[in-house]
């Protein structure tokens, strides 16, 4: 149901937009551009023991831009309906900060102000203020530096990042130097965190890497037990909890370089447990971390080389004795794109994550290695794209294959057919979803 608070927010938002519209219209110098997209997707499970329709999602998004000589105002509103289990609120309602809430219109629908920001060019400065997405890094499909915005995991990582990234309210200032170096400063008071799929959803996280397992606890219940998921202990909306980011970028002698720093709350919580007779409490806790990293990209003939690295402090993880261990983490990625075949991209990535100075018996390996392989072909003058993506965790021996066929039927209609095939053991990050193989069909109409 639409609550009074949310209703008021929606009304205020619509009034705000109307006022801006009116202001621009009266002044007569604004250029108004609108893009609307209607998107529909259905996913059918292919494993016998699964319910057949895994996802049926419909969304309508409106992108409205007012552009003047002095500023550009952009708003993206999204109305989304999912006739599946992904939107039942247990944890996720608590993941959004007070500024960043969605408006539930019914059990299966929500209205979201996805983005609303003003861009002001000021001589050497470029100011972007409002709810927005900031993308860092050079990696494809793997997030090392791309951690400024949290993500929705309702579809695990099978959604496009553009769709699953959760925009945040922030101040984003970019200062351009004479030599085209750019220094970016982010101040992010919005404390929204990752949105995990709720209990009993198709992509509910169950891996022992993240979620405590009853078998690993000293809790020995007799008879029925109650598992209580306490509300997220998400950082409160307060100036002292704001994330701060810095990025310096430079292009020199064919090399794209960046240095990144982010002081932030890690968006994936640490789940810990407490017990009382016949009751197991699972609490989500968030913690601060310093991230220092960088990225490089360059080309050698047919090859583009991409790399990024991040060193993160104060990472917390449970060990097998259900104790919490704190350590630092080094993650690096090397990616190679090969453009030597006509209209074809062949890409491979190697990513490794090391827990440094940690105690033994963590619920995740101290060294975690992922490899990805991508081949993308374009046919019929870029109107048909075939793509095969393979992601494998070397240590856990799990992974997934995503194969897709995307056709731009015309400038307004795009249709796609994809399949996700997942394998591995249930404890693995990917293997936990090995029963969730599916075929997905979707289309998008732009107007």
């Amino acid at each position: 149901m639409l609550s009074a608070v949310n209703f008021n927010r929606a009304v205020l938002f619509i009034c705000g937009l109307s006022a801006t519209n009116l202001f621009c219209a009266i002044n007569g110098y604004a250029q108004i551009n609108t893009t609307h997209k209607m998107r529909s997707e259905i996913a059918i499970a292919t494993k016998n023991n699964e319910k057949r329709v895994q996802l049926f999602s419909n969304s309508l998004s409106s992108d409205i831009t007012y552009q003047t000589d002095d500023f550009t105002l952009t708003s993206i509103i999204n109305l989304n309906s999912q006739f599946s289990d992904g939107m039942q609120a247990i944890f996720q309602d608590k993941t959004y900060s007070a500024f960043n809430t969605t408006t539930n219109l019914a059990n299966h629908s929500e209205l979201t102000l996805r983005e609303l920001y003003i861009e002001i060019p000021l001589d050497q400065y470029f100011l972007t203020l409002g709810k927005q997405q900031v993308v860092w890094g050079k990696a494809d499909g793997i997030k090392i530096l791309d951690v400024v915005n949290p993500q929705s995991f309702n579809e695990f990582i099978f959604d496009e990042f553009e769709q699953s990234r959760i925009p945040l309210w922030m101040l984003n200032v970019e200062f351009s130097f004479e030599n085209n170096d750019v220094l970016q400063l982010l101040w992010i008071p919005d404390t929204t965190v990752h949105r995990l799929a709720p209990q009993n959803a198709s992509f509910t996280v169950t891996t022992s890497r993240i979620v405590p397992q009853l078998a690993d606890t000293p809790f020995s219940p007799t008879g029925d037990i109650n598992v209580i998921q306490n509300p997220n202990n998400r950082p409160s909306t307060h100036v002292k909890n704001a994330d701060i980011g810095l990025r310096w970028t430079r292009f020199i002698n064919g090399w794209d370089l960046s240095l990144n720093y982010l002081y932030h709350f890690v968006d994936l919580p640490l789940f810990n447990t407490s017990y009382s007779p016949q009751r197991l409490n699972i609490n989500a806790e968030y913690f601060r971390s310093h991230l220092l990293g960088g990225s490089v990209a360059t080309t050698f003939k047919e090859i583009t080389l991409r790399s990024e690295m991040a060193y993160q402090t104060h990472i917390k993880q449970r060990n097998l004795h259900n104790q919490i261990s704190q350590y630092n983490e080094l993650t690096y990625l090397l990616g190679i794109d090969y453009f030597g075949f006509n209209n074809t991209l062949v890409s491979a990535q190697f990513m490794q994550n090391h827990a440094i100075n940690t105690q033994p018996n963590l619920t995740k390996p101290t060294t975690d290695t992922h490899v990805t392989f991508l081949i993308r072909n374009k046919f019929w003058h870029d109107t048909l794209t075939s793509e095969l993506l393979v992601v494998k965790n070397i240590d856990d021996h799990d992974g997934f294959i995503n194969a897709s066929l995307i056709h731009d039927y015309n400038d307004n209609l795009k249709i796609w057919l994809t399949t996700d095939i997942i394998w591995g053991k249930a404890e693995g990050l990917y293997g936990q979803f090995k029963q969730k193989d599916r075929i997905k069909f979707g289309f998008e109409i732009s107007f």
Binding site: T35, H36, K37, E119, F126, Q133, V135, G137, K138, E160, F161, E162, E174, S176, N180, V182, T249, F251, G254, D256, A297, T298, T299, F300, K301, E302, I303, T304, R306, D337, F339, G340, N342, N343, W380, H381, D382, T383, D408, N410, D411, N412, K414, E444, S446, F447
Partner: protein, 267 residues
């Protein structure tokens, strides 16, 4: 005796006529040099409409803003897509270096990824974003590559009031031919204004591939400018037409246009 005299006179005349024709045909490299040294301005801004039509008659139209500017010997080109809605905000940037040993630098911004992606410039024979132009042709515009081809003048021809030199260009080696996707091209170059008006391409197997025609050529701020460029691809029966509007060589174009930041933010 008379018959021998007649035959020798005939042969002499024939040899002389061939020699005369060979002498009147100017060296192809000199012609290419004239084409490439034609003034194209320090910088230019223009609106570019791309129309693509497939064999079934289905039409796709893209409205873009295109900029080009020289930074010394280095040529920078930026193209920003404004319509249609499904590819709006896509942008392409290239730094083309005079030093042939240095690879060009290219970036592509895809709004769906929200990230500027570095792409290799070695795929110059690939078609540019669904058009019938290759990345190389987008980069060269109306110029002719000196480094990739050996040129020779085929003939001088007069067609519909215009004098042409027809030159044949053959890739210098099989590697270049494979990279560009051509075994040969023939260019019809206007003798008076040193601009290519037509170019015919053959694929690596020697089959006729496509024709590019440059029309609506007008003087803009004292620079000869083709306002319409059309490609007909015989293999795919696909055509691409570029229409240029509001061509301006005098506009001051900010250096910031040619940065990854502008690629991402848009104009």
């Amino acid at each position: 005796m008379k018959i021998y005299l007649f035959i020798s006179l005939f042969i002499s005349t024939l040899v002389c006529s061939f020699t005369l024709q060979a002498n009147t045909l100017i060296d192809a490299n000199w012609i290419v040099q004239q084409v490439n040294s034609r003034d194209e301005g320090e910088a230019v801004s223009r609106q570019l409409t791309m129309t693509m039509i497939d064999r079934s008659g289905k039409k796709r139209v893209r409205e873009t803003q295109a900029f080009r500017k020289y930074f010394g010997d280095e040529k920078r080109t930026a193209i920003f897509y404004e319509t249609p809605k499904n590819i709006k905000d896509t942008a392409f940037l290239t730094y083309d270096y005079a030093n042939k040993n240095k690879d060009d630098d290219q970036w592509l911004y895809l709004p769906a990824m929200r990230r500027v992606r570095r792409i290799s410039a070695a795929d110059r024979g690939d078609y540019f974003l669904g058009t019938d132009f290759t990345y190389e042709e987008i980069k060269l515009e109306t110029k002719i590559s000196v480094d990739d081809y050996n040129h020779r003048t085929l003939k001088s021809k007069y067609i519909e009031g215009i004098d042409y030199y027809v030159i044949e260009s053959v890739p210098k080696n099989s590697h270049v031919a494979k990279e560009l996707g051509y075994s040969k091209l023939e260019s019809y170059i206007d003798k008076n204004i040193w601009i290519t008006r037509k170019a015919i391409y053959w694929d690596t197997k020697g089959n006729l591939l496509k024709t590019i025609t440059f029309t609506d050529i007008r003087l803009i701020q004292n620079i000869w400018t083709a306002h319409q460029i059309k490609v007909v691809n015989y293999k795919t029966e696909h055509t691409t037409e570029f229409i240029f509007k509001n061509v301006n060589y005098d506009q001051v174009i900010s250096n910031k246009i040619f940065t990854q930041q502008t690629l991402k933010r848009g104009l």
